[in-house]
Amino acid sequence: MFDKKLIIPLLLLLFTVSNAQNLFLSGYARTYLGALTTGDNEYSIVQNTFDLKFEHSKDNVYFKVNPFLYHYSDKDLELGFRQAYLDMYFDSFDLRIGKQQIIWGKADGVFITDIVSPKDLREFLLPDFNEIRVGVTALKFDYYLGNNTFELVWIPVFTPTQMPDQNSIWSLQPDYPLPYSIDYANTDVKDKLATVKYLLKYSLAFFRNRF
């Protein structure tokens, strides 16, 4: 079935490609193989990745569409958009609409205050940050006042964090004393007002050094 969430990114992609002037295209293809040194020595990871970035900017408007494709030897083809958004720049504020990775905090490699974008942890923390962070469909508003930045994020659509499959080498085997079962019946989150997320961030940059 065609995923409704892909409509906006596809339209953006179409628009970006049709405006071929000032279009910047970049991307990569990657083959990723992994084998366990214990056991049957079979490949534990066979993955081919294609990643494309289309960027287009004109005056105070900027588009970015970043489709990707994962091809596995033993799983279905995975196709999606890492990011697909439209930026609009004004004098004292910026607007970003669409599927986007939103990063909070300054720490590298750990996610302490970085709570906005869900994570794709199916390969643990090995992939690039760009692949671990899952884009959320959101509207982001940044207001600048001197060294102060106010950021308001509205996320109308729920995007879950992805955990490894039970038969993945990255899956944690929980050490429960008793057999347990998980009821998946209520995990499908409906797009309704109660699931809408609002986030507000305020940051102040200041510095003064003397040596």
């Binding site: 900027y62 690039d128 760009n130 600048y144 940059a205 510095f207 003397r210 040596f211």
Partner: protein, 261 residues
Amino acid sequence: MKLRNVITLTLLAAAIFSISLYAQEELTGKKIIENVYYRPTGEDATSDLTMTLINSRGNERVREIKQYSKDYGKEEKSIMFFLSPADVRNTSFMNWSYDEEGRDDDQWIYLPALKKVKRISSDSKSDYFMGSDFAYDDLGDRHPSEDTHKLLREETINGEDCYVVESISKEEDYMYSKTVVWVSKDKWIGLKKEFYDEDGDHLKNLTVKKYDKIDGFWTILHSEMHNVQKDHRTIMKLKDVKLNTGIDDNMFTERMMKRGI
């Protein structure tokens, strides 16, 4: 004319003459470096910078950068945006230098892979910038008060009369044990600079290959940093230099670093 007036005038003239003579004699290493530091460079500048990295086997990597700088009198701000190749595209770097004595430059880098603006701590200023032969510290404006300067000699290089000045950092664990610079006598441009590492060994040479007067200001257009220990070179070529175009103050912000141009 009364004799008293004649004596006063004579004394005055002698005083002025001796002051000017004194000033000429006292062109110290410090004064020369200050003349370079305070050489007028225009209110603001934009340019296209091509940075070519060449390793010891002669392999070249070319990076296209757009850069902006603006002089605010007591501080100078500059920002550069990497345009190509794709692996460094959208990386940006910002530097704020201060005239105030003892105040270090503030520097930031935005790496698109991390999507964060990172401030460069003073400990990291000896790290090399984007695989080039320039340390972060080399990209800022080093204040003359941070070093002790000594005029070594006068020398002619490429037909230019130069003062040769040695500068030694007052800070003990600075990355260079000393630097030696050749300063053009009539233009106050450093035409060549030698850097010595912490052990006192010759580390690298900065050579100015081309400069020109643009809108009345001497501007360096082509320079090369050569790390003699690794035989690695970084060539910086400026194109399309525009001065005093009135760059918006908002250009030199973290917002612009993230946004890019």
